[in-house]
């Protein structure tokens, strides 16, 4: 019997697994990093053994990532903010050196070293003294160096105290420490081939800062000399210093005067400040000045200053004389209209500058102004490039260059010799709302059919004949495409093109920075268009509604914007209502044909009175009350639910809008029926008490506010995610449950499932019996609740349920697992609370599909919808039905974007890949051949038999 149960469990699990050849076919994944920070992005060769380089970056989300420059695929990524206590000051820092298999990143008070090749941790240091102001890798190798991993110089600063530490490359151990208690602002660290420089900002007498440079001995950390540069109050904030070089034969520090008339350059270690007059050829105001210099010890001491105005840009190249530390102008890259970005790269001692403008990419040597290579850009860029990094490779006599450009609005592009190789849509990381768009390809037909329905018999007939005659014009095209279609349908993997079944619906994603993207799910989630809707950094989208051919986005300010789903064109806008909305409820009208919205304020009251068709509305207020509203009244709630004192409402969930119930009862093994408690107005309220360490779950009736079921779990950590979901006649929630006074209590994450039935007895409908109507207000019978808890190995941060068209397909509980970066779909039969406890199932129970209860529920590998993918930072998982009953669309967003299809009861209405049309054709042909061979034989035999007879 136990074997049977095991067997059942075994045959249950494959129902949802994905075939390895379906990966990238049914699913798509955007593994995102965020906006790469300009000074922590670089090409690097992680190993001296190989010439291959990777593109490394640290993003504004403090994610360190390595990207393969060949195809833009993510090699590895790590989150720096996970280990930092205090939030980082500005962006984090990331440093690396060619041939050094360690990247050092800093965020907040934490410095960590990561293997450049595979992203594994080398060491991690947390400082209690303050936040890390700057880090630099020492390129020079001295006698103390123990291994191939270079040491790090770090500046840790808090108010008035700056500490410079040399950390050993392999272990992170402090080699020496220099403490500066003079009260200066710790600023940067730099190094030349012989010295380490600590640069701090000394408050000047009147205002602004003076730059103080302390030279330290790299071996002992002892101060060798100190200089204070006179800045003439040019430096007012730490941001006014344009550039501090490091790891260079002549590290530089550069700033400008306030009027941006002259550039001040100092070779660190010398006292002299060279003032260079800026020759503003454009005549317009300079918007941005950036300094680009190589950061390799053996590179030529040349640097480039890039000047950007609103209309165009130019650059000046300067040379530094190593002996005299004099800075001289070498040549100029001419002023060009339009945007341009410049980046530096070095081959041995030679320094190359790559300039990419709207029309072309050029490479010049730092030594002379001759253009070494030029490529015309094939496709004119749509967005302004903000910054770039380049890698120049000498191929014989010619040069090849690849540049990673970051464009405004979040596209990260690799341009190789003028050709765009790949684009990463890093802007999608800020997704706040998403939906599937409804294409309107059948809208015309529906409209025509409507016309026919309203005409006279004769008129409708004529109309129809005309429609079919019109359709005939597509016949030649259809016939032309027929052979190709037959051939391709036999040869290709996808047996039937499922696009017309609503499988390949476009996905519309709204991001926090006011942008709307459309992803083509049929083409691996490629971005088909993206549009800037508003200029904001905090676009708080509360609801996104799709109607055939258009989507409407409702942000919290009460405005709305409608976009065309095919082009992204803005069709209409409404103005903000003035009041900030807490949430926006999406309501279906009575006939279910269209959706409307209702804004809810922070006090839980609807901003406008509901119309009658909307029925009821359950809201939560900011102060933790749950309110019930009825149509045409937005002043006084019909009911109010306040949890017991000490408890705080943290979440309210309801049944999904589309939640069809295929069967009102559950047929038991003995052919009797347990009737499901089906109430479309269920609301599950989660309330936590942080002090008593409890979590309470209240199931309310949305019309009357009556508590249908309440349960309290003890030993709950309210700081960990508590996810909950309601569907059909069941609900589920998960939490961290700890040891309580109860001796048998366990420690770990728990998942609780409750099913609601009308009565504990089979074939009994309880108090309502065969009544066709019931009232929530008068005598609403309480459900019979059967619950079961499971220990699960991981926390669940979000729960959802698969939705199919008619709800016949088994449901899956979609759980987001934040600690293993995956999404798992647990089949509902596994979570059946009626599984027999401490005994094997009886024959009747086994027939029902019940198997023995085990307290620990290990997630089977085959349940993982995200299979081996690393789907990080998911905040929300959506599910949508398709025209195929077997298939449900899944979309997860938050950090990464992940889309897939779920078939909880296997793809029973689709011919899968295992169905070979070719095999079918061959079988028919073989049978035909067999008949052709055997027919004459049989005929001959019959004739012979007749003669014999």
């Amino acid at each position: 019997m136990r074997l049977k149960a095991l067997l059942f469990a075994a045959c249950l699990s494959p129902a949802v697994a994905i075939y390895s050849d379906e990966v990238n076919h049914v699913d798509f994944h955007h593994a995102l990093l965020g906006t790469p920070s300009p000074d922590s992005t670089f090409f690097l060769k992680p190993s001296t053994a190989s010439n291959a380089s990777l593109l490394y970056t640290l993003s504004d989300k403090l994610l360190v990532g390595a990207v393969n420059p060949r195809d833009g695929a993510l090699v590895w990524r790590q989150n720096l903010s996970r280990s930092a206590d205090s939030p980082a000051r500005g962006a984090g820092l990331l440093r690396g050196l060619d041939g050094n298999d360690a990247l050092v990143g800093a965020a907040g008070n934490c410095i960590s070293s990561w293997s450049a090749q595979d992203g594994k941790l080398g060491w991690e240091r947390r400082f209690t003294e303050g936040v890390v102001a700057d880090i630099e890798l020492l390129e020079l190798e001295d006698a103390t160096a123990t291994s191939g991993v270079r040491d790090t110089i770090a500046v840790v600063g808090s108010d008035g105290v700056g500490i410079v530490r040399r950390l050993e490359g392999a272990t992170g151990k402090t080699v020496w420490e220099y403490k500066d208690t003079s009260g200066d602002v710790p600023f940067q660290v730099s190094s030349s081939s012989t010295e380490v420089f600590y640069i701090s900002l000394q408050s000047a007498m009147l205002k602004g800062y003076k730059i103080k440079i302390t030279a330290l001995d790299p071996l002992t950390g002892r101060q060798t000399r100190q200089q204070v540069l006179n800045t003439d109050t040019d430096v007012t904030t730490p941001e006014s210093v344009l550039y501090v070089g490091a790891n260079s034969a002549s590290p530089l520090i550069a700033w400008t005067d306030k009027s941006q008339k002259s550039l001040k350059v100092n070779v660190i270690g010398t006292k002299e400040v060279t003032s260079i007059a800026i020759d503003n050829v454009s005549g317009s105001e300079i918007r941005q000045i950036t300094v680009h210099a190589p950061n390799k010890l053996n590179s030529l001491p040349h640097f480039l200053v890039h000047f950007v105005t609103d209309a165009g840009a130019w650059a000046e190249v300067y040379h530094v004389d190593l002996k005299s530390s004099k800075v001289s102008n070498a040549y100029r890259l001419p002023y060009l209209q339009g945007q341009s970005v410049v980046s530096t790269s070095a081959i041995d001692a030679n320094v190359y500058f790559t300039r990419i403008t709207e029309a072309e990419a050029i490479v010049v040597s730092s030594a002379s102004h001759g253009v070494l290579a030029r490529w015309d850009l094939q496709t004119p860029p749509s967005e302004v490039a903000l910054h770039s990094v380049s890698e120049v490779v000498a191929k014989g006599k010619s040069l090849a260059v690849r540049s990673a450009l970051f464009r405004e609005h979040g596209d990260w592009q690799l341009v190789r010799n003028g050709q765009i190789e790949w684009t990463r849509h890093e802007g999608l990381i800020d997704a706040v709302a998403a939906t599937w768009a409804e294409t309107d390809f059948q809208e015309d037909l529906a409209h025509e059919l409507e016309v026919e329905g309203h005409e006279t018999l004769y008129g409708a007939y004529l109309h129809r004949v005309k429609r079919h005659a019109r359709d005939l014009q597509h016949l030649p095209d259809w016939l032309k495409g027929l052979p190709r279609r037959i051939l391709s349908s036999i040869l290709t993997d996808e047996v039937s093109n499922l696009d017309s079944f609503g499988i390949a619906k476009p996905v519309i994603i709204a991001t926090k920075n006011g942008r709307v993207h459309a992803l083509n799910t049929g083409k691996h989630g490629a971005v088909s268009w993206s549009v800037q809707v508003t200029d904001t950094t905090q676009w708080d989208v509360k609801a996104i509604l799709s109607s055939p051919g258009a989507v409407t986005i409702h942000p919290s300010d009460g405005s709305s914007v409608t976009l065309d789903i095919l082009t992204g064109e803005i069709l209409s806008r409404t103005e903000p209502s003035g009041s900030t909305l807490h949430t926006i409820a999406v309501l279906a009208t009575q006939d279910g044909a269209s959706l409307t919205t209702a804004g809810i304020g922070a006090d839980g009251a609807p901003a406008t009175a509901l119309v009658k068709e909307n029925g009821i509305l359950v809201t939560t207020s900011a102060d933790g009350r749950v309110l019930g509203w009825i149509s045409e009244d937005n002043k006084a709630p019909v009911w109010e639910f306040v949890p017991p004192s000490g408890q705080k409402v943290i979440k309210a969930t309801a049944r999904p809008a589309h939640d069809p119930v295929a069967s009102i009862g559950k047929v038991l093994g003995n052919r009797s029926v347990l009737y499901k408690y089906l109430n479309s107005n269920l609301a599950l309220i989660t309330a936590v008490d942080a002090k008593a360490k409890t979590a309470s779950f209240y199931l309310l009736d949305g019309v009357s506010g009556k508590v249908l079921h309440a349960t309290t779990q003890t030993g709950v950590d309210s700081t960990q995610p508590i996810a909950s979901v309601v569907s059909e006649n069941w609900l589920a929630y998960s939490f961290w449950g700890d040891v309580t006074t109860d001796e048998s209590s366990a420690k770990g994450y728990q998942l609780v499932v409750s099913e609601l039935y009308e009565s504990p007895l089979p074939n009994d409908r309880g108090a309502l019996d065969s009544a066709s109507n019931y009232s929530s207000v008068d005598t609403l019978p309480l459900p019979h609740v059967i619950s079961q808890a499971f220990m699960i190995p991981e926390p669940i941060s979000h729960m959802a349920v698969t939705q199919t068209r008619q709800g016949i397909t088994t449901r899956q509980l979609l759980c987001t697992l934040p600690s293993s970066n995956s999404i798992v779909g647990i089949p509902r039969p596994v979570l059946d609370p009626r599984r027999p406890v401490d005994r094997d199932p009886t024959a009747a129970e086994a027939e029902e599909g019940l198997f023995r209860y085990t307290p620990f529920l290990e997630f089977d590998g085959k349940w993982y919808l995200s299979h081996a993918r690393d789907v990080a930072g998911i905040k929300e998982v959506l599910s949508s039905p398709t025209l195929l009953e077997s298939t449900s669309l899944i979309l997860a967003y938050g950090n990464d974007i992940y889309g897939t299809r779920a078939t909880p009861s296997q793809a029973f209405d689709v011919l899968g890949k295992s169905f070979s049309k070719l095999q079918l054709v061959l079988t028919v042909v073989a049978l035909g051949a067999g008949v052709a061979v055997l027919a004459p034989m049989t005929r001959r035999k019959q004739v012979n038999a007749l003669w014999k007879a």
């Binding site: 494959p14 280990s83 941790l121 293993s820 307290p855």
Partner: protein, 254 residues
Amino acid sequence: MQFSLSAIVLLGISSLVSASLTITIPSSGPLPNPHVLPATSHATLTTLPSSAKDHILSASLTRAATFVFDLPTSATAESYLLDIRSAGGYVFAPYRVDVAADGSVLGIWETFRGNPWDNRGAEKYVVDVAGKKPDDVVVEAKVVGRKAFYEERAKFSPLSLVKNPMVLLAVVALGLMFVMPKLMENMDPEMRAEFEQHSRSSPITGATSNAMAGGGFDLAGWMAGTTAPSPAANDAPQSGASGRDTSGSTRRRG
């Protein structure tokens, strides 16, 4: 190289903090080379906070395939659940880690999910009460297995075709068709005459010959067991010709 590096890592860390816990991953059946673990693998120590201090400690996988925790001091002794999670589908056994208020490890045991917390398994480490408390505790993780994410697609193989009962039936039928006439030829004439008589009395062969002769065979009548007024049935020795009779006569012959 890797291991000497790990030794340095351990030394370096232990000299910096009061106490640390290092979990090493031995090579085992499901995981022969622990260095193949993806970089996102991490270990967590979780408990319900007694105070507002850190109660979820997380450690990333190091280059030496270890996880290193710096244990914080707290007001009271804490009992942590140690989980190791890896993206490659490797499943690790959970441990119970008891940490004293000063941040030193009191004991580490295997634990069983879905069992009471006091139900401890194999002991991995326990503090020596008499001796000096070590700064760094090193325990080995236990790999339990590996999850299979993918469904194997049934591959086409000729052997599976042979195993198919339908195909087997067809092959046997074909074989009989070609072999039977040969057998008949090898039979001695007397036996063949007898056999032919029997087979002629059999309704099916009779039917075929009838069909060839142009006569209609009453299939429904034959199935109903009635004596069809067919010429073949008239020849039969028994009036109630049926399949059972035929088989009976064959048996008699054998």
